[in-house]
Amino acid sequence: MVTTTAAAPATRGRSRHGRLGRGLRIGGSIAATLVFLFPVLWMISTSLKLPRDIFASPPRWLSTVTWENYTSYFTQADIGPRMVNTIIVALGSGLLSIVAGAMAGYALARLPIRGSGLIGGLILASRGVPPIALAVPMFLVARRFNLTDQHITLILAYCTFLIPYVMWLMRSFFMALPKELEESAMLDGASRLGAFFRIIVPCTLPGLISTLIFSIILAWEELLFALVLTNRNAATIPVAIAGMAADTEQGAMWGPLTAVGTLTVIPVVVFALFVQKWLIKGLAEGATKG
């Protein structure tokens, strides 16, 4: 934080070195981000191209900009309602999983429960279950209870992989906290649950928010369960895209495919940028308190 400009020569040398290192790190991080973003930029630029320019040699960044890829497909494929479905399902399953998963993660990290190692291992290993193994029985059960094509069915189905995921990550974040934190709160008369929500949760806010973001993303892009468990009312964007992708074999659908791909990226990016502010705010508060 404090720059030591007027200090001894040795220290100054090190700080100049530090400044160079910092510059390299910033440059490196920008370069890495650009490399990783390149395919996305390519997708966006393709979505704005005329069909004849999509496959051009040498490749072109842009042709005459056209919105045709966005308008033509939109009218046929009910993209709007499906976007709403995707948002409902992703937020619903993300929030449900973060509450249930974080509580379980805390229990496994801190509370003396007999067999907690085994329970944790079982829950975690369940994330390795191939979704195919669950899709057929889920479909049958949903049909029996008249729950096919409902948002809640998909939300619960997504909990199968989100809860273990949240539980495991949050467990590691909780373990990184000093034990004295909630012990002192409980000595002051807070209940275990109270201490958890008022002390532990705020302290692990960065981990909690990044876990939530990933849960929402995982739910956002899930294809198989959505394909099997919905057909119209609750169908999500990946289902619509899968239908289009089948047509890309003929080579004509690249434009619309990249257009819808671009559109699905936007809400999550907006969300992530928005949450990023909170993430840093939470961190800053945590730092000043500590």
């Binding site: 290192g21 910092r22 790190r25 991080s29 920008i30 890495a32 981000t33 990783f36 973003l37 395919p39 390519w42 997708m43 393709t46 496959f55 040498p58 490749p59 509580m103 379980a104 229990a107 429960i113 007999r114 067999g115 329970i119 291992g121 829950i123 290993a125 994330r127 390795g128 279950v129 193994a133 669950l134 057929v136 029985p137 619960l156 909990c159 539980m167 495991w168 990550l169 590691s172 974040f173 990184a176 275990r192 649950l193 960065p206 981990g207 990044s210 973001i213 990933f214 294809l223 990946p238 895209i241 992708a245 890309t248 690249w254 495919l257 699905t264 990226v265 999550v268 990016v269 990023q276």
Partner: protein, 322 residues
Amino acid sequence: MSTKTETEAVGSAVAPPTAPADMSPRRRPLGDRLKDIGGRWLFLAPALIILVAVLAYPLFYTIQISFAELDLSTFTPAKNVGWLNYRTVLEDPGFLNSLKVTGVYLALALPLQMILGFGIAFLLNAEWRGRGVLRALFLIPMVVVPVVAGGVWKMLLDPMWGFVNYLLGLVGIDPINWLADPTLAMVSLVLIDTWRWTPFVVLIASAGIMSLPGDVFEAAKVDGAGWFATLRKVTLPLLAPVILAAFIVRWLGAVKMFDIALAATKGGPGQATDVVNLYIYEKAFRGLEFGTASSMATLVLAITMLLTFLFLRLNRFLEKRW
């Protein structure tokens, strides 16, 4: 002991075990102690109830189907065939090949993603104004729906029109048919998967790095520890739980990978990228062989459980050691 805990794990989602024998009685009233135990289980209850309902139940159903022949008109197990499905599966060269392919993919992709992910997280941790935005931008590859991601990479890797070959052409390398050569197809698959999932490791690593206590680093600096010594003696040990957790989550995600393979290579050329889940998927939903597909799923589950168990043991060992 082990049978006891097993029944607990399965049966006690709602009912907490009463009178635990190993709790040393500290002269507290029984009511208090029960309340305490109840309080502990309260934390686990929501997760366990949901998971038993939507995960354990379908899973047992899958295992049941794996021993049966499924009646396709009613989607119910028609008759019990014993271990027949399992024998069919174990004699199926396609299935054994898919296990091998999955192993190769995991061995290449996981270490690459972990190293890149933590490396980039350290880069992104340099303090400056843009880092929050960069972190958020870094997430974008993960957000691209797999089917689209596979398509975009197919375009980039196209032998005739693709941008990658165009770049290689600029430095005088002849066009490479990435997805048509068995070895290169696997390399491409690992490349695409790494592009998609490194951001995950980056974010988890960033969150871990950010929650490290700053005073320890101040102390290391005061003691005159260099950059590398700090990394090796302070940062890595403190980060160990997060690194291991990220690895295990990534491992469990990678084991299930199939959408990228489906979108980019469809398992080809030949069966060079036919990962096990893609193979099971094809068997179940194209071949409608639900019985054998369920046997494969059960076997994959068993292998995954075993390896995860080993990783967890290693994890606990390392957590204790550091």
